[in-house]
């Protein structure tokens, strides 16, 4: 069985085709930096997370953090990459005050991961994108310009990054944004990155060019740097495509340059031309040994990989029958999908579990700005609630009340139902008694009904439910009421 997809629509714009490649800088979620034991906490005071190594003091030397390599391998495998048995760190030499050593340690011609591929869905069509490489590098510090002065915070210097470079395979802004989201979902599901674009733990640079439809040669490429939301990726790429076409149409060739996106004005603007680009003088860093990996160790790591979000989403759709939208939301966060699966498994009703999680639970979480990990209702408790509904122990309406109380008190559904006597009444004799009373009290409405005004049936149902404090099983009520009124 496969998901029904449509063929990729052509995304031509005014007779041109856009060609887009993306570099995603993934900040790996290690406790310490890539080449020293400095902490990586986000909220440390300025220059608190530093040491002689991370500020490049004379004589200090880098020592590779093994955890970083493990995370790179996991990510590489998830991206379908080949993991090199030997990878090498090089020095990328350039001067900038927030680059403490005057060079950045980065993998260059021998990256840990290369030649991968991934796919995702954009508006119901399946898109496959090649991954050229994913290489490890250290982050630089952060410059903040204050009037005439620049202050530098080196807390970020040495934070491990995995730069994932796609092939020039994307053809529209929507594809670009969806690709970035897919990468985000993957690294989150692997627990190697928190995936937070605003805090910069995921940073995207888009390379955009346009060419006439049918042209083989790529156009001149422009890099848009530091896009920090999926929406900005889409808008910036869209803007850039139009700008480049305008430029070509008006007879001005595109310059190879780096641009930034201004979300307020929704436009890109030039940061620097590539003509004054540095010669980085890459060479292997003599302070670090090559990373040597055995294929059996790589295979061992492969076995520890979790199911990836896109595969999980497909499974939710085919085997659990969820909608595409629900599946995508539920799989965008590993803990959320685990919660959902656990709830569905215990209750035996995945559809209902999806509805509760997507509806009431996410609403509460969002309103309280909480993540699934902070949920006041455990998956097991929510499953119990679903079971109560399915077993007709409580009505759907009462269930909403129970849910709210569960959220407020963190008590189990059983406790709340017991304490409040919420159990649904299906006992026909008890319901019959209530109905008799209602009929007794409302003789004029009975006459109306019997004279053919059957619309008042609803009035009786409401009255019975009120009388039973909502606990009567509505199906049973309907059946008995009908019988009694019509007799």
């Amino acid at each position: 069985m496969s998901i029904n997809t449509v063929a990729a629509p052509n995304s031509f714009v005014r007779g041109y085709e856009a060609v887009i490649g993306i570099e995603v800088h993934v900040q790996l979620k290690t406790k310490s930096k890539i080449f020293c034991s400095d902490s990586t906490t986000f909220d440390a005071a300025d220059n608190e997370n530093t040491s002689p190594v991370s500020v490049g003091m004379p004589g200090s030397l880098p020592v590779l953090n093994r955890e970083v390599v493990l995370m790179a391998i996991k990510t590489g495998l998830a991206l379908g990459c080949k993991i090199r048995e030997k990878s090498v760190f090089a020095r990328k030499n350039y001067f900038y005050p927030d680059l403490p050593k005057g060079y950045q340690i980065s993998q260059y011609d021998q990256p840990t991961c290369e030649h991968g591929q991934l796919y995702f869905y954009v508006n119901n069509y399946k898109k496959t994108v090649s991954i050229t490489r994913a290489h490890l590098e250290e982050d630089a510090g952060k410059s903040t310009h204050f009037g005439q002065y620049t202050l530098i915070n080196y807390n970020r210097a040495g934070i491990p990054l995995l730069e994932i470079v796609s092939g020039p395979d994307l053809r529209s802004a929507a594809e670009a944004a969806e690709y970035a989201k897919t990468i985000r979902d993957i690294v989150k599901s692997l627990d190697v990155c928190d995936g937070n674009l605003e805090e910069g733990s995921l940073r995207c640079d888009c390379n955009v060019s346009v060419r006439k439809i049918g042209a083989e040669k790529f156009g001149t490429r422009v890099e848009i740097k530091n896009l920090n939301s999926f929406r900005f990726i889409e808008k910036a790429v869209d803007y850039e495509i139009e700008r480049q076409i305008d430029s070509i149409e008006s007879g001005t060739p595109i310059n190879q340059e780096t641009r930034l996106y201004d979300p307020d004005k929704n436009r890109t603007f030039m940061m620097r031309t590539k003509e004054d680009a540095d010669d980085y003088r890459y060479f292997p860093d003599p302070d670090l040994l090559p990373i040597l990996l055995k294929s059996e160790d790589i295979e061992k790591i492969r076995k520890t990989l979790p199911e990836l979000p896109i595969q999980k989403s497909e499974r939710f759709q085919f085997t659990l029958g969820l909608s595409k939208n629900d599946s995508e939301i539920l799989t965008s966060d590993r803990m959320l999908s685990e919660y959902f699966e656990s709830c569905g498994q215990i209750s035996g009703n995945y559809k209902s579990a999806a509805n509760w999680v997507m509806g009431d639970l996410l609403r509460e979480l969002n309103q309280n700005k909480l993540t699934i990990g902070d949920s006041k209702i455990s998956a097991k408790n929510l499953a119990e609630l679903i079971q109560f509904i399915d077993q007709n122990k409580i009505s759907g309406k009462i269930a909403k009340t129970v849910f709210t109380e569960m959220w407020q008190t963190s008590k189990s559904a059983q406790n709340i139902v017991d304490e409040n006597g919420y159990s649904q009444v299906s006992d026909t004799t008890a319901i019959e008694k209530i109905i008799d009373t209602v009929i007794e009290k409302n003789q004029s409405q009975v006459a109306e009904y019997r004279s053919g005004k059957t619309k008042v049936f609803g009035f009786f149902v409401g009255a019975v439910m009120r009388e039973s404090k909502g606990q009567a099983n509505p199906d049973v009520v309907n059946e008995i009421l009908k019988r009694k009124l019509e007799s």
Partner: protein, 490 residues
């Protein structure tokens, strides 16, 4: 006890037995520094807290604590090594005022063994030089004759040790910087196998070649201090995990049957007659002791000097990029910092902070690594380096130790070569291949020149075979004309 001739072992046990205090030993050398350093300029910094440091060692001994094997032994440290709380400048203006908050691993290990750090020693700027003339802090002089250079780059270490301003010193050797000045000043210097000694806290010149080692007065002291400073360090991933032998305990002057290799390419008559004479007499002694002589050829040695300058300059151009005036050390004075653009800030600071030789090598290295030249220079040099290493591996299948001169001449006069960099670079002709191939190397004083300057011989071993060269050196030392001589400094 004569502190000028006493071994580490002698002093350390005397201090532990409270026959003399570490403070007294330290004071003795401080007095010598006071008296003799003005003529030599061997020190860039004298530790004013040295006596207090020594008193701490004495206090530990008094309280019955078992202190280390170098208790009370006074060490001078090349300024290339970072010393906590003491200026560490690499002989450069650009690091003027830099006081590291950490000790190099080598220094930390010496301290842990009970050694007293008495000060920092002069050197060529960033270890780039063979005469100590490129130091920003003035050239150091040869204690045998102050008109002559002490050699370089560890010139301060050699001069201080030869004149016994210290009991031991640490130097660094990237292309001969321990062995050549040891040779010029008549002391024992050992450059350990690459990976033996941690480079952590040693200011980098050429990371794939740099190695620190002892520069001392005897082979026994060399063996003792080497076993203390070497061994794996978790702060330097290029250190090997090999266990450290007890070099001093295993010293054995019986070299009967040991295979001594002579490299054909080093015997082409490049050397000064005095050097030839000393070399031949040492050679004859080795034969007398029963060593077997093996003739070898390592053809790629011909390219060692150009290979060395391409690789070391390339690495240096990157290693020295961090000295930008932003974080520490020297920064040019700017009247109004806010109106200076970044490029000018760098250019001014680095232009003023680095000396001519350093700039020359940064430019050479930058050029070698530039796109379009990388393959022809840096990469080619690395390829040939691998082949050179292979040739050495083959050679060491036929011999235990390679025997050669250290330099073509004894110490030369101050100013004699400083105007001609190429002439200066040829000083390294016999020493650089050791670093390129990652071998162990040693300089042992053996004879005197007609101008009464010491001349040594060089011993080279396969990786991690330092015991072998120490043993040969130990045997030669017993018949050396220089051993135990202390120059009179005027």
């Amino acid at each position: 006890m004569d502190l000028l001739t006493a071994s580490f072992q002698d002093v350390s046990s005397a201090v532990k037995n409270k026959k003399i205090s570490a403070a007294e030993v330290t004071q003795f050398f401080l007095n010598r520094i006071d008296r003799l350093n003005p003529q030599l300029n061997a020190f860039t910094h004298v530790n004013i807290n040295a006596v207090a440091d020594a008193e701490l060692v004495d206090a530990e001994i008094a309280s019955g604590k078992n202190t280390g094997p170098l208790s009370g032994v006074v060490f001078g440290i090349k300024d290339m090594l970072c010393t906590k709380g003491m200026p560490s400048t690499a002989g450069s203006k650009i690091l003027q005022g830099f006081i590291p908050p950490y000790d190099a691993t080598v220094v930390a290990r010496l301290k842990k063994a009970g050694a007293i750090i008495i000060g920092k020693l002069n050197q060529d700027e960033f270890a780039m030089g063979s005469s100590n003339e490129t130091s920003f802090y003035g050239n150091c002089k040869n204690p045998w004759n102050t008109d002559f250079v002490p050699g370089g780059s560890s010139g301060g270490s050699a001069a201080a040790q030869a004149s016994r301003l210290t009991m031991g010193t640490i130097g660094t050797d990237t292309g001969g910087s321990i062995r050549q000045p040891s040779n010029f000043c008549g002391i024992v210097g050992i450059k350990p196998t690459y990976g033996r000694v941690s480079r952590y806290g040693i200011i980098s010149y050429a990371s794939s070649l740099d190695q620190a080692g002892p520069m001392v007065s005897s082979v026994t002291d060399a063996a003792k201090s080497l076993e203390i400073i070497c061994g794996h360090d978790e702060n330097d991933s290029t250190t090997v995990k090999n266990s450290v032998e007890e070099f001093s305990k295993n010293l054995n002057p019986n070299i009967k049957g040991l295979k001594i290799g002579l490299i054909k390419e080093f015997m082409l008559g490049q050397s000064d007659p005095d050097v030839e004479k000393v070399f031949t007499s040492a050679f004859n002694e080795l034969k007398k002791m029963g060593a077997e002589i093996v003739e070898l050829s390592i053809p790629l040695i011909e390219f060692a000097v150009p290979m060395y300058y391409l690789i070391s300059a390339s690495e240096a151009s990157s290693n020295l990029a961090r000295y930008d005036g932003v974080k520490y050390g020297f920064r040019s004075e700017f009247k109004d910092l806010s109106s200076v653009n970044l490029e000018d800030f760098y250019a001014e600071t680095r232009g003023e902070g680095f000396g001519a030789e350093v700039k020359r090598r940064i430019m050479l290295g930058t050029y070698c690594l530039s796109s379009g030249y990388f393959d022809a220079y840096y990469n080619k040099a690395c390829q040939v380096r691998r082949l050179l290493k292979n040739q050495y591996t083959e050679a060491f299948k036929k011999c235990d130790v390679i025997f050669s001169p250290v330099t073509t001449t004894p110490a030369f006069k101050i100013g004699e070569k400083s105007t001609d960099p190429l002439k200066m670079y040829l000083n390294d002709i016999f020493t650089t291949s050791t670093n390129l191939a990652g071998l162990g190397g040693m300089s042992v004083p053996f004879g005197m020149s007609s101008e009464n300057l010491p001349i040594g011989v060089q011993l080279t071993c396969a990786p991690y075979q330092e015991q072998k060269i120490l043993n040969v050196a130990y045997a030669l030392e017993k018949v050396s004309l220089v051993q135990g001589k202390v120059p009179r400094v005027y």
